[in-house]
Every structure is written in structure tokens, then in C-alpha cells.
Amino acid sequence: MDWTILQQYGPLLLSGFGTTILCWALGTVFSMVLGLLIALLQRYGPRPLGWVIQAYIEIIRGTPFLVQLFVLYYGGPLIGLRLDALPAGLLGLTIYGSPYFAEIFRSAFNAVPLGQIEAARAIGMSELSIIRRILLPLGLVSALPALVNFSIILTKETVILSIITVPELTYQTQRMSTETFRYIEANLALALFFWALVETISRVGRKLEKRVTRHLIERT
């Protein structure tokens, strides 16, 4: 192995890593927000809308991200949707992640005890206030471990953005290996970067979990 190659390609890999983090962070936030919206519409919206949403969830979950991205990036222009690689990648991640987040939120909302919602109804609180003050805070807390977990899964879905030429880390390491034939070094570097990212997310996630549950755990 020859690690001196990293001196030459270091800046390129770092910029790729930056793009990876950007895609992951924005993709996670966007798909989480969309997922939350879907879960709320599913819970409160009219039934036909629920069926449409269910179909969306099944279709997106039932097909590979690779295929979705191809359709969006190469098929999009056929219907007038012409996006650059990065926006297309972000949109793709948002669509791909949303049904998983929606399902996490749906089950978290179902886990909020009905009695606590009834207590709010019984004093005359509006459904909107109940969502804001009871359902969301309690639901988000119980969803947190699963949200962190799926965010971690999403880090590794970003590598697929390389096929539509988003200059993220995988794209750059592939460039490095085709230019230098240092496949092992390139892939090890790729693995290390991802491991560092995932480790950071999971540590932050655990801290956050501890913080938000500190009042909810029964101490007798």
C-alpha cells in the first residue's frame, strides 16, 4: 500500500467528503420533514388521501434507490424536469427517504398513549394545539432512536449519487482509483471517512436521546 498518494488526492477526497456530508445532511432534513408531513396527513387527512399516500410509500419502498435516481435524472428531462446533478441527487434522497421516515413517525404517533390525547381533548384543546403540544413532542422523543438509525442508513445511500456524477466522496475516490489504480487505498479511505461520519452521528444521537428522555424515565 502506498499512502503517499493521499497527499496528492487528499484535498479532492476532502471536498468529496464535504459534498457527501452536505448531501446527507440536507437529504436527511428534507426527507424527514416530508416524512413528518406524510405521517400527519395520513393521520388527519381524508381517507382517499391516505390511500394515495400508502401507494406512494409502497412504490418508493419497493424499488431500489439506484433506479429511482436514474428515472429522476435521466428520465426527468423527458417530462421537462431538467435538474443539475446535485439538486437531482438531493431531490432523489428526499423522495427515497420520506416513506421510511413517514413510517417511523406513524408508529411513534401511535405509541403516544390515547389517554394523554383524550386528556387534552377533555379540557377543550384544539386538534392543532394537541399536535403541537402533545403529539409532536412525545412522538418525536419516542421516534428519536429510529430517526437516528435511518439517518445513518441514509449516509450510505449517498454513495449512489456518484452514478449521476454528484462529486461526492465515492465519485472522487473512484476518480482517484481510475487515475492511479490504487483501488485498495481508495476504498479504505472511503470506508474510513464513512465510519467517522456514522460514528459521529450515532454519538450525537445517543446524547440527544439521553437529553430528551431525562424527564420521561420513571424513577421510584
Binding site: A119, A120, A122, G124, I134
Partner: protein, 258 residues
């Protein structure tokens, strides 16, 4: 108590799926009086109680609070708009078997929540009233505690303070002591007795026969969705005529004779 509510229940029916939970129930809840609902489990007492504030929706008949029909615009008519229902609910307090405090808020936060979100009071005024309500139930030293740090009895007293702060004219209690350890039952019943002497209209689903005997103005016995009999406590508890009431009370006497 000024403005204590009355409730008229007329020919109310309710199904849970195939199960006929309430069968033509008639009952008058008198203003400023305590009505206890007793009967075996599954007899419909909790369902009837939950129909009074329309948490459970009755299908036919009428429930009127101070003459105002709840849940429907007219008897057998369309559902009442959510806003009107919420307005009626503001003046009806409800206390649940499982307390149902909001675990992410302190005791004080649980009480101020409705005052701020429903009554629209400014925070300082809401906190002043919440403190008063918590003092009344004997919890002035627990205001900053979250429910996870409180005993069952304390949680239930916070729940009572939460509804009291809203200044209800009618309070519904759904087996308020059934989830409590026996030694914690007394503290909750004492708060309820105080409310009763102050002239609050109360409807209490309970298995505490002592409370029913000493505090209730009338006791209603239910079985299999029917309101079998309603009378003063002494008549129902010590001098029952109906064989179903006798059989029900016998299980209590057997259990408590040691």
C-alpha cells in the same frame, strides 16, 4: 358553588361494534350534587361517563348539560361543530383512571397548559392560578416535578388540579383511585370530598363503596348497559331491592370480610 351544572341523560344508546354498551339509559345529574356510578366491569359506567363530554359518541338519545345538547346540533341530527364541542368541554373537568398527565411537562406545566392554550390567559396569570390549584390539592412543594417523579396519588392530584384550574362547573371522575396503591387512595378521595362539600357537580365511576356511601347524594347501579336503579346511597347500598344489586354487593362483602 355558583354555576354548578346539571346533566340530563335521556334514552341514550351506544354500541361498541356489535356490543350494545348503553341501552336506553336515563339519568338526572343534579347541580351541586355527587352521583356515583357503580356496577360490575363492562356494565357501561365508564362509557356513560365518557358520553357526557362526548369522548365516547352516543348514537341515539339526548345528553344535555344545562339544557344544551352535547355532540349533536339537534337530537338525531348532524354532529356538532368541533369549536362548539370544545367550548362546552371547557366547563367540564375529567379525571382519568390512568391520570393521563403529560409526561414532558412539570406539574405546573400540566396545569397551565389548558389555561394558556384553551383559556388564552397570559403566562403569569396562568401560573398564578395553577399554583392556587396545586396548593388546593396539597402539592405546593411539587410544582416543578415531572410526573415521572411523582407517586400515583400525587399524579392523580395534579390531574385534579389540572381540571380544577379550568374552573369547571361539572367534574367527571373515571375510576380515579383504581390504579392507585391502597395506601394512596385516601389522599385522592379527600380532595374529592372537599370538592363535594364545596358544591361541585360530580359524576364518579367508582369501586370505592365507602366513598359512595358517605359522599354521594345518589348512587346509580348499572349492569349490562342498563341503568338498573338510582337512589340515595342508603337505599342502594344497604337496602337493595333488585337481585342484581344484591349479587354485586355480595362479592364486595365477601372480599372485605377478614
Amino acid at each position: 358553588m355558583p354555576g354548578a351544572s346539571s346533566v340530563e341523560i335521556r334514552k341514550v344508546n351506544k354500541h361498541h361494534g356489535q356490543f350494545h354498551a348503553l341501552k336506553d339509559v336515563d339519568l338526572d345529574i343534579l347541580p351541586g350534587k355527587v352521583t356515583c356510578l357503580i356496577g360490575p366491569s363492562g356494565s357501561g359506567k365508564s362509557t356513560l361517563l365518557r358520553c357526557i363530554n362526548f369522548l365516547d359518541e352516543y348514537e341515539s338519545g339526548e345528553i344535555r348539560i344545562d339544557g344544551q345538547l352535547i355532540g349533536y346540533q339537534s337530537p338525531g341530527g348532524a354532529r356538532m361543530p368541533g369549536r362548539t364541542l370544545r367550548e362546552i368541554r371547557r366547563s367540564i373537568g375529567m379525571v382519568f383512571q390512568q391520570f393521563n398527565l403529560w409526561p414532558h411537562m412539570t406539574a405546573l406545566g400540566n396545569v397551565t397548559e389548558g389555561l394558556i392554550r384553551v383559556r388564552g390567559l397570559p403566562k403569569t396569570e396562568a401560573e398564578r392560578r395553577a399554583r392556587e390549584a396545586l396548593e388546593k390539592v396539597g402539592l405546593s412543594d411539587k410544582m416543578a416535578s415531572h410526573p415521572s417523579r411523582l407517586s400515583g396519588g400525587q399524579q392523580q392530584r395534579v390531574a385534579i388540579a389540572r381540571t380544577l384550574a379550568m374552573e369547571p362547573r361539572l367534574m367527571l371522575f373515571d375510576e380515579p383511585t383504581s390504579a392507585l396503591d391502597p395506601e394512596l387512595v385516601g389522599e385522592v378521595l379527600n380532595v374529592m370530598k372537599t370538592l363535594a362539600t364545596e358544591g361541585m357537580t360530580m359524576v364518579v365511576v367508582t369501586h370505592e363503596m365507602g366513598f359512595a356511601a358517605h359522599v354521594a347524594d345518589q348512587v346509580a347501579f348499572m349492569e349490562k348497559g342498563e341503568l338498573v336503579s338510582v337512589d340515595v346511597p342508603d337505599k342502594i347500598l344497604h337496602n337493595p331491592q333488585d337481585s342484581r344489586i344484591k349479587a354485586f354487593l355480595r362479592t364486595y362483602h365477601e372480599r372485605n370480610s377478614f
